[in-house]
Symmetry: C2
Amino acid sequence: MEDYSLTILGCSSATPNSRRFPSSQVLHVRGKYYLLDCGEGAQIQLRRARVSFEGLDTIFISHLHGDHFFGIFGLLSSMSLMGRKQKLTIYAPQGLKEMILFQFEACGQKLLYPIEFVELKKEPFYCLLDAKKFSIHAIQLNHRVDSWGFYFTEKERDRNIEPSVIEKYGLNFEDIKNIKQGRDFVCEDGTVVKNQDMTKDPVPPFSYAYISDTLFKPEIAQYIQNVSLMYHEATFLENLADLAVETHHSTAHQAAECAKLANAEKLIIGHFSSRYKNLDKHLQDAQSIFENTELANDLCTYTVRKPAYSIWP
Amino acid sequence: MEDYSLTILGCSSATPNSRRFPSSQVLHVRGKYYLLDCGEGAQIQLRRARVSFEGLDTIFISHLHGDHFFGIFGLLSSMSLMGRKQKLTIYAPQGLKEMILFQFEACGQKLLYPIEFVELKKEPFYCLLDAKKFSIHAIQLNHRVDSWGFYFTEKERDRNIEPSVIEKYGLNFEDIKNIKQGRDFVCEDGTVVKNQDMTKDPVPPFSYAYISDTLFKPEIAQYIQNVSLMYHEATFLENLADLAVETHHSTAHQAAECAKLANAEKLIIGHFSSRYKNLDKHLQDAQSIFENTELANDLCTYTVRKPAYSIWP
């Protein structure tokens, strides 16, 4: 699987059909896999997508509707049967921990690896994980039950130093580190070499926003400005906008509106109602508002970010 | 789907793989569908096999290992979302009812149709349902947890009456019924016409035995003598016979041995360990003992019984 890529495991809404599995997707960032939602059959789709269960240490569950988590029991069971020992972290709404513990207790299966459950908080936007090069935030959505989106952001990368500069000024490791972080360089004779004469802008940091089941909520765009890739549910078409409001879902139009407000680079729409066999109208509707839209499709991989330009000409 | 047919929805053992779903199958008898086990993804496979959820009123769960029932939550949920109103009956081991009630209570979904839970009893062989033309029995197996097989038998059919006889003797409805049940006919002048001169043997009644996870248990053959079609788990090959004993499973050899002891017409073997990519050896092993064996294959349909002969030449 390509680095910085998203693979859709399922993009159906509530009732799956013969063409689409329920919601689940896997984000691949710098050798790590993050599972976002885990609808029924996710473990089968992971196999088909050739994602190793061992590389999967973190699962995010957006909300407790079955089409977003009924696959977790099978996946956790298989991980244990396959001899997993390392810790698994599950970010999920209050309640999932109890369901999982009850389920495995009731059928007498002991999971042979530790699970850390992290309960999602009812805050509009907050940090779940802040690593050296990477952070993950939760975004509160507006659905019939508590629902969250997840926002992955790579931190600003170091500036790219021109290789010939190193020899020219006899730079040591410390000098290079300082210059990559944007500082100027002072030569032994006191001459100051400006940073912009030695470096180029880094590739912009990648980011991904997973916007799961929600009523159209334009306020979320403020939290994910300039996101590289965005997935937004688009359960219905505009002629069922009333049903979207009633069931707290979005239309393809609204998904595109949100991507536009967020100034996203690219939008993937999914979570399609099983009433739609042909999704051309979803795509047309979204593209009329936000052109760089693609339809989610089970087992398709979408590149989050290819280097936009080569660093040195 | 053809009448008297079995469609395999999944035939993998514990951990599914990209080629095989976990255990689930649907038996079609005289317009009714019976779901036997309900591994993860069963509802997706039912759609692919074009089995209407509405035609499904009875589910049998053999035992409470996840690969045999983790699909029931999604199926029950979808049935409700699709507006089901009619009763569903679930025959299952003690414990499944509580899991289902806990699960739907915890995620706040109310199922909008009644479910009758029938707990399986720890008896070697007993009748679950005795209808006019049909009966269903449970067979106790020998697995790491309580496990049952299910045996479907059509009752003896009426004899076939030769149409010309009706006119010849001026038979009324009552006469015909008596003759079809094997009685002789007494003409007005007192002449006795022997039943065998007016009828032919009916098509032998069909029967199906589903032998789920079990250690080789030859005793069960006595309960299913002359079964038309038999499914028997065949998790391992003979070189892993020790592992089969340890995990309370059967080998392909043993499945065939059981079919031979039962004097079955045809055997389907399944529940293959995910370690096997190629199943040729399973088939060879079984056929060396019981020739009329086929390999289970997801979404393949097997005919239980075609009329063995035309009734009148």
